[in-house]
């Protein structure tokens, strides 16, 4: 019975969306979304605990054995990402009601929920699938719904942001398809595990190298790898708050997962990495991302854009671990997927509350003045999440950075250690800007004290609490990530 959950995990949100469209009622839509999100979380935890106990699960859709049919496959890594995505979803969904009611026209709200369900289904589908082309299909489900979610933002810039993201996202997805096509031509299969096995027998490496390049660039576009990140700040800044919170916490993380999967499960047995300096390039780009994006964040005026640039920098940390390619660094990377997801989720959920009370679509840093007096709990939550963003000991962000530093020391790359510390110092600068204005500036005259609605606030504070919790109890986060990292590296010869 348990293995059927693997299919239901994806199919449930997938079926919720048409149901919502059929019923056309925004209250029903919210109820269905919330129920589905919680159900997904429960299923994800059940599946993950099973995987961590007794090894990978495989599920043949349509009862056709792979590689002829499509396989769903859950191992330590995908189980970890599965929990991350459904955890975020279950925090965002209940909070969505007020935020969406405030930001989106009533006749569009139920469609917004439908898009959210589709996005969730797409991301979960990408995570559990063991088939390269099926991954593309679900990538497109997630992407198309994301474009719509962004375009539903209140300002007209949201449309342009969505358009830009759509162009780049589609180019990225098409690059991915080209890469998969080349691999398919060389192996004759689309099943990832089968592909890895048959790639070892391929003598002619040039198409495989080209495929590696295309998949890296394609997925790099989706995960906002440093020079390909241009779409991200606008998309995060102008999307409706709830969409930002969900996308920021999950979408790029799932793309990172896809990259990990291809690098370590498909390409690694093939001697392609010896022919291309992929690791070095990744380290270089990551370092550039960490420093430049953090610097841009320091001078950014729009609060949501500020944290969006911070996301680009944080993705740099994650890809850095992939580039370092050893147990400690990969553990750090994978842990950071979760930690940064929770942290950014908390921040954007809190900002959603501020936007709701400010009753204005844009939010500049100046608008936060006196926030500590107007919305003390929100401001407190922002501080906690900000500390985690910097990586102060005792917060989640510290744990993952600690492992990254260990990984860099393992490789003897001291300059990388220095850059990690420097980037964290820059993070102190931009977080301090927000905190300083929120706590030390007086609120604008006539501003009354009004917290965000209870539902939103509790979801946000619960996420902020998680930032601290994962800073102390690392049995799930680091434990799961270490398992996943060992799994990835264990395949290598």
């Amino acid at each position: 019975m348990l293995e059927h959950l693997l299919a239901l995990q994806v199919v449930l949100p997938l079926m919720a969306a048409p149901l919502i469209v059929l019923v056309r009622n925004r209250h029903f839509a919210w109820l269905a979304t919330t129920a589905v999100s919680y159900a997904c979380l429960v299923m994800a935890i059940a599946l993950a605990s099973r995987v961590f106990e007794s090894g990978p699960l495989s599920y043949a859709l349509g009862n056709w054995p792979p590689p002829w049919g499509i396989e769903y496959r859950l191992d330590a890594l995908s189980a970890f990402v599965l929990v991350l995505v459904s955890l975020t979803a279950s925090f965002v969904a209940p909070y969505a009601q007020r935020s969406i009611a405030d930001e989106v026209a009533p006749e569009r709200q139920y469609l917004m929920y439908a898009m959210y369900c589709l996005c969730l289904a797409g991301l979960l589908g990408m995570t559990v699938t063991g088939d390269a082309f099926n991954l593309f299909v679900f990538l497109e489900i997630a992407s198309l719904s994301t474009y719509v979610l962004i375009a539903l933002g209140r300002r007209r810039k949201a449309l342009v942001a969505a358009y830009q993201y759509m162009l780049l996202g589609t180019v990225g997805a098409t690059f991915y398809v080209i890469g998969v096509g080349l691999l398919y031509l060389m192996t004759g299969t689309l099943n990832l595990a089968d592909m890895a096995k048959r790639l070892q027998e391929v003598d002619e490496l040039r198409p495989v190298l080209a495929a590696l390049a295309f998949i890296t660039v394609g997925i790099g576009l989706k995960l906002a790898l440093f020079p390909l990140h241009q779409w991200l700040p606008n998309a995060y800044a102008y999307a409706p708050s709830m969409a930002t919170a969900f996308i920021a916490a999950t979408a790029t993380k799932v793309s990172v997962y896809v990259l990990l999967r291809f690098y370590f499960s498909v390409f690694d047995p093939v001697p392609v990495f010896a022919r291309l300096p992929t690791g070095e390039v990744l380290i270089g780009l990551s370092v550039a991302a960490m420093v430049t994006a953090s610097l841009v964040a320091v001078f950014e005026q729009d609060v949501k854009r500020l944290f969006a640039y911070s996301s680009v920098a944080q993705i740099g940390y994650i890809t850095l671990g992939i580039g370092l390619e050893n147990q400690a660094a990969l553990t750090g990377s994978i842990t950071h997927l979760l930690n940064h997801g929770v942290t950014k989720g908390a921040i954007f959920v809190l900002l959603g509350g501020v936007v709701l009370r400010a009753a204005a679509p844009g939010l500049t840093v100046g608008d936060l003045s006196g926030l500590a007096r107007r919305m003390p709990l929100t401001a407190f939550g922002l501080v906690i999440a900000g500390l985690s963003l910097i990586g102060v000991p005792g917060t989640a962000g510290f744990v993952s950075k600690w492992y990254l530093i260990l990984g860099a020391i393992d490789r003897g790359l001291w300059w990388v250690v220095a850059v990690i510390l420097a980037a964290s110092l820059i993070a102190v600068a931009y977080v301090w800007r927000v905190v300083e204005i929120a706590y030390l500036r007086p609120p604008p005259a006539g501003a009354s004290r009004s917290e965000a609605p209870l539902g939103m606030l509790s979801a946000a504070l619960a996420m902020a609490a998680l930032c601290v919790y994962f800073g102390f109890d690392t049995s799930f986060s680091v434990g799961g990530a270490a398992d996943a990292a060992a799994l990835l590296l264990g395949r290598s010869p």
């Binding site: 439908a114 088939d131 489900i141 539903l152």
Partner: protein, 165 residues
């Protein structure tokens, strides 16, 4: 086909570009039919030349049909596009030759579809059998993609009810 694309690059009247795009799609469909992909050809003719053109014309009607001067310096995009092409040409040298029956795609997964599909599913059109059964989950995904696009367009273009805003 290559010629129509070149014309598309040069043509600045968008109406012309759309017409060229339709021609291009039809040519593509012909080529696909020549390559034995009859199902794909039929779809490309219906979608590329049919639906896409209607949608493009509809959008054109709403947005105006003249393109302003090409604005960017053409050098950078040309270099980028050429670099992509170069990687592909590099990769293409290792690919199996055209119509090589020993190529992996003909020897690995496909034979089971060709030999067993009509027995296992009772459907002689192998494409349909693979589409709806072996890889039926992909097709579910595809249907959902269409649904997403449909619902997304409704969300974006629904007219505001009277009295709001």
């Amino acid at each position: 086909m290559a010629a129509t694309v070149v014309a598309m690059v040069l043509q600045r009247n968008l109406l012309g570009v759309v017409v060229l795009f339709a021609i291009y799609s039809f040519l593509m469909a012909t080529v696909l039919a020549g390559l034995d992909a009859v199902d794909v050809a039929m779809t490309e003719a219906a979608v590329g030349a049919g639906v896409s053109t209607v949608l493009l014309l509809g959008a054109l009607h709403l947005t105006g049909s003249w393109e302003a001067k090409p604005l960017h310096r053409p050098a950078l995009p040309l270099v980028l596009a050429a670099a992509v092409g170069a990687v592909l040409v590099y990769g293409s040298f290792g690919l199996p030759a055209f119509s090589d029956p020993q190529a992996p795609i003909h020897t690995h997964v496909a034979p089971r579809y060709l030999n067993e599909a009509s027995k296992e599913t009772g459907v002689p059109n192998v494409v349909t059998a693979v589409l709806a059964s072996y890889r039926g989950y992909d097709t579910l995904g595809e249907t959902v993609v269409v649904f997403t696009a449909g619902a997304g367009v409704i969300a974006l273009l629904r007219r505001r009810r009277k009295g709001r805003r």
